[in-house]
Symmetry: C2
Subunit: 417 residues, 2 copies
């Protein structure tokens, strides 16, 4: 069904995404190790909300609803009930409706979906945020925590690193079905790190990746069958960070003193969920494709209309498969599209311009919100060194939770075009 009421993105904020490998992240060799701490989830969320208010000129009292995407604060930071934390970011939010929504790595996208419903239900100004802090534990413990996005009782044992193994399984199936090679898939990571180097907020802004480094990257799985198909360089980052955006109705726009030309409009959305209990065709992201097709139908556009995209590159192979789910490439042709360079910043269809989950980073609950904010920023020329050359008219996001289980896709239109 089409959107029952027009809904606009009136602004968005993204904190720096940090974690191991980021120069400011306090870790064993950092000069502040032992004397200072990395920011808490409360601090990241506060920063994202404060920046959003400053940027949009929002009167906090005008907010009708608040939604927060978070995957698993209960484990990484011992905190559930974060919707009440979002209310705590400003005294004017007291007694307003707020909730946390969760769908693994699609939690941020779900917060946007809930916000769109709120607009349809009569809200004019909705604050949508996402936050995750996950650098509090070892990589191995973190791998176990993140396995809560799979069907734990069925899938946990595939490897200590459940999700890398699940996508190693996909990479194996995909490479074997279509004759795709590792060096083609590596071009995704090389692009991600390259874009991140142009993005001061990116987790991997200071890291380098080229074909030799990617080819030599460590294969860390214990599962012998999938081990050859996943390297460290293929993986999205374990990041801390937050993102926030303002979703508004036409009346909300007027309240903010903004015109449609100042903002972006969500003109299509798809939200598709597959059963946690069973898996389908490993060579395709069928749930993602379903969500995108709904978003395109809502918006009355096709893949050819999209000028910029943020897709869920939890692993390098996932981005290749997302190109296919989005209709940018045919079945099995996604890796070739990556290798062609056409999804680079200067390419025909730039994808993940700020570095994506691999380069910009992946604070899980924030990611879906960040994707939409990134499209907004590209439309408004706010991307600095990674600004794409032509102002986009239409942008696409695909935010995926688990192994193609919960997917939210948005088509966003530039109000200025």
């Amino acid at each position: 069904m089409a959107l029952p009421k027009r809904a606009f993105i009136a602004g968005g904020s993204i904190t720096s995404f940090i974690g191991k490998g980021h120069p400011d992240f306090i870790w064993k060799k950092h000069p502040d190790f032992g004397t200072k701490e990395n920011p808490t989830w409360e601090e990241f969320l506060q920063q994202a909300v404060d920046e959003l208010i400053a940027q949009t000129g929002l009167n906090p009292a005008d907010v009708d609803r608040l939604y927060l995407g978070n995957f698993t604060g209960e484990l990484f930071v011992n905190q559930g009930h974060m919707g009440a934390g979002l209310v705590g970011t400003n005294p004017a939010f007291a007694n307003k409706p707020s909730m946390r929504v969760e769908g693994a790595c699609a939690s941020g996208g779900l917060a946007i979906m809930a916000g769109l419903d709120a607009i349809a239900a009569g809200a004019d100004i909705v604050l949508v945020a996402g936050v995750e802090v996950q650098t509090t534990v070892s990589a191995r413990d973190g791998g176990d925590f993140l396995a809560r996005a799979s069907h734990y009782s069925r899938q946990r044992s595939i490897d200590d690193f459940t999700f890398p193994a699940l996508f190693g399984r996909r990479a194996k199936a995909y490479c074997e079905a279509f004759g795709v090679t590792a060096d083609q898939i590596d071009t995704v990571s090389i692009k991600a790190y390259g874009n991140a180097s142009l993005n001061p907020k990116a987790h991997m802004k200071a890291a380098k990746m080229d074909a030799d480094t990617a080819a030599a990257s460590y294969k860390f799985l214990s599962n012998e069958e999938y081990k050859p198909f996943v390297k460290v360089s293929d993986c999205s980052q374990v990041s801390d960070g937050a993102s926030a955006m303002l979703l508004v109705s036409e009346a909300g726009l007027a309240k903010l003193g903004k015109s449609t030309a100042d903002v972006a409009e969500i003109v299509g959305r798809g939200h598709s969920v597959a059963s946690l209990y069973e898996d389908g065709d490993l060579t395709k992201l069928t749930t993602s494709a379903d969500a995108v097709s709904k978003a395109y139908a809502d918006a009355g556009v096709t893949a050819a209309d999209i000028n910029v995209a943020e897709v869920h590159d939890c692993f390098a192979v996932t981005e290749c498969m997302m190109y296919e789910a989005a209709g940018f490439a045919g079945a099995g042709e996604g890796a070739k599209l990556a290798a062609s360079g056409e999804t680079g910043i200067q390419g025909k269809i730039p994808v993940n311009t700020g570095g994506g989950l691999i380069g910009f980073g992946h604070p899980v609950g924030a990611t879906g919100v960040k994707q939409a904010v990134e499209i907004f920023r590209q439309m408004k020329g706010e991307c600095g060194d990674y600004q794409i050359p032509n102002t986009p008219k239409y942008g696409l996001t695909i935010n995926m939770g688990g192994d193609d289980k919960t997917v939210v896709s948005l088509v966003i239109a530039n109000g200025a075009i």
Copy 2:
């Protein structure tokens, strides 16, 4: 704001709520201990959905959206991403929009709020469910897990049992401010266990509670200041279970072949959230009162119009304070109302007729859904031995998360009156 579109409860299911103290719960002295297992979260959820489908004659393919309330599956059952589990309960749900929402013990109420927005946004049939399994760990570990509903970094250390201590703090403030006595508060637990003994699905259906037993009940807190104010008999149960309901528009009703007389209508709702970071007046549930006042305003009713209620008795003192938040009693008069017997099944305003969180049990994510289903069942005469004598016209629910932080309140009208 009033509901933008009429929304009806077309049916609801509740599984048995079980845990320690329930005769069927497999625990050390149970004959099946070591050979059989208690049901999993997947099994409880499946049972609730299957029963709902059977009861309402629903064609699962007609469901437009799905929402699931769950507090902290990540910890108790190693599972997030349960929205995809809900989709897994029926093949016809594949690719439909589904999400888990969370606001501590108000998670089920939030799922209903999200469902109401979905109706307003154009959905006709929405499946709302809640589930929690929490008997997988020791009481002490469970106390730590549940402390994720408080502001963990600030409040965890109040006691090993954080929430009993937070409500011990309220009980102390409440008793001292208003001269309330423990034996007055005990009448809440005595009613809860008494009602539960009439309810075959109740966790505490086989337990007995009278004034002497309550008075002698163990005070288990380590915190010396609050220890005198909390006994085992005051506490809601650590239960496993699920509940599901069908929320439908007028068009959805027609699809189900039902008339308004067959169902109940949600005519008012309030959703208020307070900051996780600070606490207000300990003698009042101010956030709950705010949510109820919104629900009453929506519905155009007052406390005097309510014929039956389900309120969040996470502790016995909470129910007394909820009477005040609901306007059933003045400030400090809630305990007297409890002691008067007027909130019993035969009383003027029956509250928690199936036993509430103390007697029926409290599988956290299911509770908010169960409350609304209980009101529906009282309206339709489905409560068996605990059916109230006069068919209610209006029912009230108050579902609270944390220490009066996230509150959802509903006014439900009987379509047959």
